[in-house]
Chain length 128, copies 2
DNA sequence: TGCTAATTGCTAATCATTCTCGTTTAGCAG
DNA sequence: CTGCTAAACGAGAATGATTAGCAATTAGCA
């Protein structure tokens, strides 16, 4: 047989936090939320579980240049992200012009792509 | 008056290495090449100078999810990157379908975007 | 209810990057 | 050409994110 991931309380709480999140969370951001529901969870456990959920395909990574990795529930429609250069928050951008064609050499094998748009979010843009 | 960046030997060698590079280099990759021309350069100095050149607008950063930052000469034509998931090398992709339109809320201010295509490079794809 | 391997909490270790500090040196004044 | 001073250097310690190691817990099946 394969593996048998256990349904621990901290794993459940973590999944619950991501399910209730409206934007990608870093491990530490998630940790803060998890501890509100269940104090005394180790940060290391957070990393382990995030990795676990990631491998099970329940979470997806979102990388922002120069920042800690963030995660969100997998299975959303194909979308990309916006990063505010002022407050560093991450936002989801629905849709992606699928016309995106890149001049990748034929010999290369394309698995996917990632697009990050950056600038200022509404709040930060208003402050100027 | 402003600042006065000194024209040191290590700064010159570093610029020279980037000028001769055909792909984005991480600080450590650049370090290896610099030391071939000039042994006994400290890694910390590499970071300092990369940052300096970056601030002077002579270098541009390229971030690859989960990897150390890479740098390349600034001023190339608008282009994006390909990351090989097997050998982790970075390749330049010329051009960018400028039709790329994202559904960013009007209130957001867009500064730019970054696209990363990932998969297998020619060499790694052939090994399968 | 009991057993055992998966999981946890805690701590030490790693990696990339930045910082500190005493020493060297670019580049201008004399 | 010689001196001076702040910028830059080298070496190593410090930081932040993430992973690994290990003894103590515990989920889940017999």
């Amino acid at each position: 047989m394969e593996k048998s991931p256990r349904n621990t309380k901290q794993r459940r709480t973590l999944a619950q936090v991501f399910a209730g999140a409206d934007q990608p969370l870093s491990v530490e951001e998630a940790w803060v939320r998890v501890r509100r529901l269940q104090p005394r969870v180790a940060l290391g456990t957070m990393y382990r579980n995030v990795r676990g959920l990631l491998e099970q395909g329940e979470l997806a990574v979102v990388h922002f240049p120069g920042q800690a990795a963030r995660y969100e529930l997998e299975g959303k429609a194909h979308h990309h992200h916006f990063e505010c250069r002022s407050c560093n928050q991450a936002f989801d951008l629905s849709g992606c012009t699928d016309k995106v064609r890149f001049k990748v050499p034929r010999s290369f094998k394309v698995h996917g792509h990632e697009i990050i748009v950056y600038g200022l979010c509404a709040k930060c843009a208003a402050k100027r």
